[in-house]
Structures are given as C-alpha cells and as structure tokens.
C-alpha cells in the first residue's frame, strides 16, 4: 500500500500508545514528586544512585567471602530501585516514555541526552577496557569480578541519559 501524502505508515513502534504506558508517564510527570525536581534534589539523587551502584558493585566484586548476606543484598537492591525510580521521576521520565507522549522540546532534550550519553559511555567503556586489559596480569579474575563490572556498565548504559538531564548538562549543551 502506498501511503497518501506525508502520513506515516504505522509500525509496531508508532502504534497508538496504550493506557498502561500513559499511566506510567502520568506517574513520572505527577506533581506529587515536585520536591525531587529542584537542581539540588536532582544532584542528591544522582549521588545516592551512583553510591548505591558502586556499593553493590563492590559487594559483588568481593563475594562470596565478605558479602552482606541475603537481607543485605535485598536491602541494597531495594534502595537502588527507589533511587533509580526517584531519578527517573525527577526528570519526568522523558528519557523513558514513548515518544508520542512527549512534546517537541522534551524530544529535543531526550535526543541530546542519548547522543551525549552514547559518547560518554563509549569513553568510559574504552577506559575501563584498557585498564582491565593492562591490569589483568596483577589480579586473579573471577566471575564475581565480571558481574561487578557488568552491573556498573549496565547501570551506566541505562541511567546515563537520565543522569545527564538531571544534572542539567544536556540543556547547557543545546
């Protein structure tokens, strides 16, 4: 079927956004969380989130000899989850929600955030890989080390756009 005019052909990515996604976007945008959206609150959330990521990574790295136990892991992961959600709410979830739920300014901010996050992540990954490669002779690597690194890298990959928006870096660039 040849599309008429400039009307785009619907795909699985451009279909109408369902009520569930709208509800999640409404929670991200809710005025109840206004206290988390000041510049200082956002910076605090970024620091708390980063500290929890590092704490869990160090715990994983040193497992199983000095692990905090099941309750400790559960508490750390729950705290991490709340920090992550707080971070997303502080930026109104614009790095996460469907593009049809964002306006043109929010889309620009999101595009800039992902563009910069891609570069930052590539830089960090290159430095980490180089360090790991150079230092591999001095340490005995175990699976727990790999899990710790994967945890940090995945967190960086997933949360970096929201972190950059929360810190106001993206707006300053564009």
């Amino acid at each position: 079927v040849i599309p008429q005019g400039s009307e785009p052909v619907p795909t699985r990515w451009t279909r109408a956004v369902g009520p569930w996604r709208r509800r999640i976007a409404a929670v991200y945008d809710s005025d109840r969380f206004e206290a988390l959206r000041g510049p200082r609150a956002r910076r605090v959330l970024v620091v708390i989130h980063a500290a929890l990521v590092v704490a869990v990574a160090v715990g994983v790295w040193r497992q199983p000899t000095v692990g905090p136990g099941l309750a400790g892991w559960a508490a750390a992961l729950i705290a991490w989850w709340f920090a992550y959600m707080g971070l997303l709410v502080s930026v109104r979830g614009i790095t996460e929600v469907h593009r049809d739920l964002l306006d043109e300014w929010q889309l620009q901010v999101r595009d800039a955030a992902y563009r910069l996050a891609h570069r930052v992540f590539a830089g960090v990954a290159a430095v980490a890989a180089t360090g790991f490669f150079l230092g591999r002779r001095d340490m005995e690597l175990a699976w727990s080390h790999a899990y710790g690194l994967i945890w940090v890298m995945v967190n960086l990959l997933v949360t970096l756009p929201a972190v950059l928006v929360a810190l106001g870096v993206v707006r300053a660039l564009d």
Partner: protein, 100 residues
C-alpha cells in the same frame, strides 16, 4: 545562533491564561511554555503557527527576529474574556474558550 523574540508572556497575560491552560490548548508540556516564554527554546514552525493561530494573530505578530516594543502598562492586565471578534486579527475565540 539567531535569536527569536516572542510576545508569548504578554499575550498569555492579556488572555488571563495560566501556563497549564496554554500548554493544554497547544498540546505541549507546561514547562515547554515556560522555556518558550523565556526565549530558551525556539519552537518548530508547526508549533509557532499553532501558537499564532491560537491567539488569532499572524505569526510575525507573535514571533520576530527583532525585539518587540515594550507592552503598554494598563490597569487590570489579565483579561477575563478572550478578545472579541471586532478586534483585528481575533478570529478564533472558540478555541480559547475550550481551555477555560
């Protein structure tokens, strides 16, 4: 980087609209209206036309490459009703009424 000036704060005040009201009518987030008003964000051509149409003005009456002259000071700045049809360029009062 070229600067685009706009009369959005004045027009919104004249119409007695909140940012939320205007944002809802334009289909954008109220933060976006704030960024537009402060000149921190330049709207797309489509949004610029939407804004001009909403206020019943030509696009060059809302946006300009040169600063607009300061708005005259008058008592009771906020309008309680949208401008009437007899005023020049006000031909879309129905759309404004939707947001109240």
């Amino acid at each position: 980087v070229s600067v685009i000036y706009n009369r959005l704060p004045v027009l919104r005040a004249e119409w007695g609209l909140s940012r939320q009201d205007l944002a809802k009518a334009l289909g954008v987030h109220y933060q976006t209206v704030g960024y537009l008003e402060r000149g921190e964000y330049k709207p797309s051509l489509s949004l610029a036309f939407d804004i001009a149409e909403f206020f019943g003005l030509r696009i060059e009456e809302v946006f300009s490459r040169t600063p607009f002259p300061p708005a005259p000071v008058r008592s009771g700045l906020a309008r309680t009703q949208p401008p009437g049809r007899d005023e020049p360029g006000r031909d879309e009062p129905d759309r404004a009424a939707d947001v109240r």
